[in-house]
């Protein structure tokens, strides 16, 4: 049992931390990066693209990709350290993050030489942005029942259908898309994986604005969209297998969200913020809740590290991985709820106030935190998964 970095890892951490300190522009920093994975506007997007280019020039983008494809061949642990330092510095999620994490490794594994040459450099440099076309109105948790059709027309496919919850589609140049190519095959066996140019006639993007007013998600409609055959990734009708490879690359838990900074800020506010003429901190109810949140944040952090250890040792995943999503997302909600317990009406103001300069942050947390217990499989589905796959209880 060793929670400390090895000397090599400590050096890597120090090197990246130093680079961030010297190069990250303060004006692009964000308090809660996951709430702003997609830039809120074009101007912010342009700043983040410039930031990615700067990182890329210094060799800090796609570090876990093999060197021959422009990465550093970084180890899994280095990627974890990278993520920890990156979010600790309050840096924003990179504009091509989903392509870096999901599409890139998939192309490296399944793509043709031409596909790799065409797309990988532009993912690293953010010269082209991507969106992920997986979920549909009737295929969310049960993704394999997707119905967007692609019909073989000789040298191209014709795509018809609808995707939903498509992050950043309104900025995207390309989409990595799951389509049904064989409607008669069992549902996992008739799916294919396509790369679609978003400028192709017949692609329509409609905003899906969240309850906090953020435009993050979209609906994407495909109406007789022609996709060249060379844009098929992996074998025809084996897109599920290709996509699963992609999902395996999704570094669930690597880096992860760390809520420690939120707790530190809430503790600070509790000491300053008057609650019936006294600092809220003097109220044992407030102290107890803050302490409990601090406990849970630490538990999440260590549980995540235990799961990473299994992965580093090449052991099969333990129960740790399954509980991270459930516990982490519910913890994020509880922190958001606590902010309004502490701040009262100030947590409902979407603007700076004299007493609470960062009121808007907490207003945004109260609204934004709701999505994490839903996106990527609801808490109810997570409890089913834990009950059935980890504990071995029978299906209902």
């Amino acid at each position: 049992m060793d929670f400390a970095d090895s000397p090599e890892h400590a050096a890597f951490r120090a090197e990246f931390r130093r680079w961030l300190e010297g190069n990250l522009p303060p004006e692009i920093c964000v308090d809660d990066a996951a709430d702003q994975r997609v830039a809120p506007d074009r101007e912010t997007l342009e700043k983040r693209i410039a930031w990615q280019k700067k990182m890329h020039a210094a060799g800090w983008v796609g570090i876990s990709w093999p060197e021959e494809y422009g990465g550093r061949g970084a180890s899994f642990m280095e990627q974890v350290i990278f993520d920890e330092e990156y979010f600790r510095a309050r840096a924003p999620v990179l504009p091509t993050a989903s392509a870096l994490n999901l599409l890139g490794p998939t192309l490296i594994h399944w793509g043709t030489e031409e596909q790799k040459k065409r797309h990988l450099p532009r993912i690293l440099s953010a010269d082209e942005l991507w969106c992920q076309g997986y979920s549909e109105p009737d295929a969310g948790g049960d993704l394999a029942s997707l119905r967007t059709r692609a019909v073989d027309r000789g040298d191209h496919f014709v795509v018809n259908g609808q995707k939903v919850w498509t992050s950043g589609a309104h900025f995207a140049d390309w989409c990595f898309l799951l389509v049904r190519t064989d409607p008669d095959a069992p549902k996992h066996h008739g799916i294919s994986y396509l790369l679609v140019d978003m400028k192709t006639p017949g692609v329509t993007v409609r905003p899906l604005v969240l309850l906090n007013g953020h435009r993050h998600f979209n609906e994407v409609f495909f109406e007789d969209v022609a996709v060249p055959k060379q844009n098929l990734v992996g074998p025809l009708n084996q897109g599920w297998k290709v996509a699963i490879t992609t999902l395996m690359f999704e570094r669930s838990g690597a880096g992860g969200r760390d809520h420690a900074a939120q707790i530190a800020r809430l503790a600070e506010l509790a000491r300053q913020f008057p609650n019936r003429q006294e600092p809220a901190w003097n109220d044992s109810h407030i102290r107890q809740q803050l302490a409990q949140l601090a406990i849970d944040v630490k538990a999440l952090q260590v549980t995540r590290l235990r799961g990473l250890t299994r992965r580093l040792r090449g052991e099969p995943p333990g129960p740790e991985g399954s509980i991270l999503k459930l516990f982490g997302s519910e913890l994020a909600l509880r922190i958001a709820d606590f902010s309004s317990t502490l701040l009262g009406p100030y947590a409902t103001v979407d603007a700076p106030t004299e007493a609470v300069p960062d009121a808007a942050r907490w207003h945004n947390r109260v609204l934004g935190a709701r999505q994490y217990t839903i996106a990527g499989g609801t808490s109810e589905i997570q409890r089913n998964i834990i009950g059935e796959r980890v504990l071995g209880l029978p299906k209902g």
Binding site: M1, D2, F3, A4, D5, S6, H9, M77, A267, R271, W281, S284, R287, Q288, L290, A291, Q292, A294, I295, D296, K298, A299, L300, V302, T303, L305, R306, L308, T309, R310, L312, R313, P319, E320, I323, L326, F327, E380, Q382, R383, N384, I386, G387, E388, V390, L391, G392, L393, P394, K395, G396
Partner: protein
């Protein structure tokens, strides 16, 4: 970074599991409940042969010199079987206090014999005005020409009735801080003025006593460590014992979950195994989450104390707060999901529920530790 156990630790776990499966089944535990001792000489000797009674003492004192992380592995396995008897009180409290603060003569006298299973010890530190910090130690020890005179009551002393020697924490002066003025004393069981009364408490596998001291005279040589400076070593002993208890709580809770899952697969209601209903399944999932998080915090605290890192005290309180809430919830949910059978004397869940409740409040419950955490994070 590597947050897992070593091959040696896994081997220790396997050995412990086999030993306890063979020697400590529920029939054995129930038989010990019914007795005042809660341990047999034969069983205690077997623990000595395993090397467990000196596991954390230095090799020079007749121990194995293992760390808290190693101990965590062993405690989880003991928890799985609700091992009865004075392991915690003798090895991790009374003996550990002598190891932590004792002179070399005191260590030589007691530790090899504790490790060999020949002698037992206990730690008398808590009092009727129950608190788990230095302010809780009020019992006065007046200095006399020959040594010290102690009068007062110690309460909830684990296995005092079995101990050959008590380590008693007392106040030798009102110092500038609560920590200043606490001293530790050796008190052999036949000392005049010492009265031990067993309390009928919830967990009969681990007995608690009231210890009354009526003008007990102790020679100066029975002082352990430096006069007035006993709180620092005592708090280190208590911190390590608390983390060990957390590990035991995790092991017990894991067993409750395993029993509950097995039952939920077999028990049929309305034509289906109850484990197929989400109302049951989701509660089982929540039990797992609570257990895994308590394990995480326990492992971190064990490592932090072994390494002496700065946030050790914070880590201990986080582990104990989490383990206390977890133990109560898991044992309680275990009974709930078993239904009526879980409420019976016949079912083993009672052993786990009672141990969980006793452990929940030992060394401070969750509220106590959350308050301490708040103080620590306030800087």
């Amino acid at each position: 970074m590597d947050i897992g156990f070593t091959e040696e630790q896994e081997l220790l776990r396997e050995t412990a599991r086999k030993f306890l499966d063979a020697e400590c089944d529920s029939r054995f535990v129930r038989a010990r409940m019914a007795e005042g001792a809660a341990v047999t000489d034969e069983f205690w000797q077997k623990l000595a042969v395993q090397g467990w009674l000196g596991i954390v003492y230095p090799e020079a004192d007749g121990g194995s010199g293992l760390g808290l992380v190693d101990l965590v592995v062993l405690m989880e396995e003991m928890g799985r079987r609700v091992m009865p008897g004075p392991f915690l009180s003798t090895v991790l409290l009374g003996g550990a206090a002598i190891a932590e603060a004792g002179t070399s003569a005191q260590r030589r006298e007691w530790l090899p014999r504790i490790a060999a299973g020949e002698k037992k010890a206990a730690l008398a530190w808590t009092e009727p005005a129950l608190r788990w910090d230095a302010a809780g130690i009020a019992l006065p020890a007046r200095e006399t020409e020959a040594g010290f005179t102690l009068s007062g009551t110690k309460l909830f002393v684990g296995d005092a009735h079995l101990a050959d020697v008590l380590v008693v924490a007392a106040r030798t002066r009102d110092g500038s801080t609560m920590e200043d003025g606490v001293s530790l004393f050796l008190m052999p069981k036949d000392t005049a003025g010492l009265t031990i009364t067993l309390l009928p408490t919830i967990d009969e596998t681990r007995k608690l006593s009231e210890v009354r001291l009526d003008n007990v005279a102790l020679p100066a040589a029975f002082l352990i460590g430096d006069k007035h400076a006993g709180w620092a070593p005592l708090s280190r002993v208590v911190a390590r014992a608390a983390v060990a208890l957390c590990a035991e709580m995790c092991g017990s809770a894991q067993q409750v979950l395993d029993m509950t899952v097995d039952y939920a697969k077999l028990r049929v209601a309305f034509g289906r195994p109850i484990g197929s209903y989400q109302g049951v399944k989701h509660q089982a999932a929540d039990m797992l989450v609570a257990i895994e998080n308590a394990k995480s915090l326990t492992y971190y605290a064990a490592w932090a104390l072994d390494q002496g890192v700065d946030d050790g005290p914070l880590a201990v309180s986080m582990a104990k707060a989490a383990a206390s809430d977890m133990a109560r919830r898991v044992a309680g949910t275990g009974i709930q999901l078993h239904g009526g059978i879980g409420m019976t004397w016949e079912h083993d869940l009672q052993l786990y529920f009672k141990r969980a409740k006793a452990s929940e409040v030992a060394f401070g419950d969750a509220s106590w530790h959350r308050e301490r955490i708040a103080r620590l994070i306030n800087g």
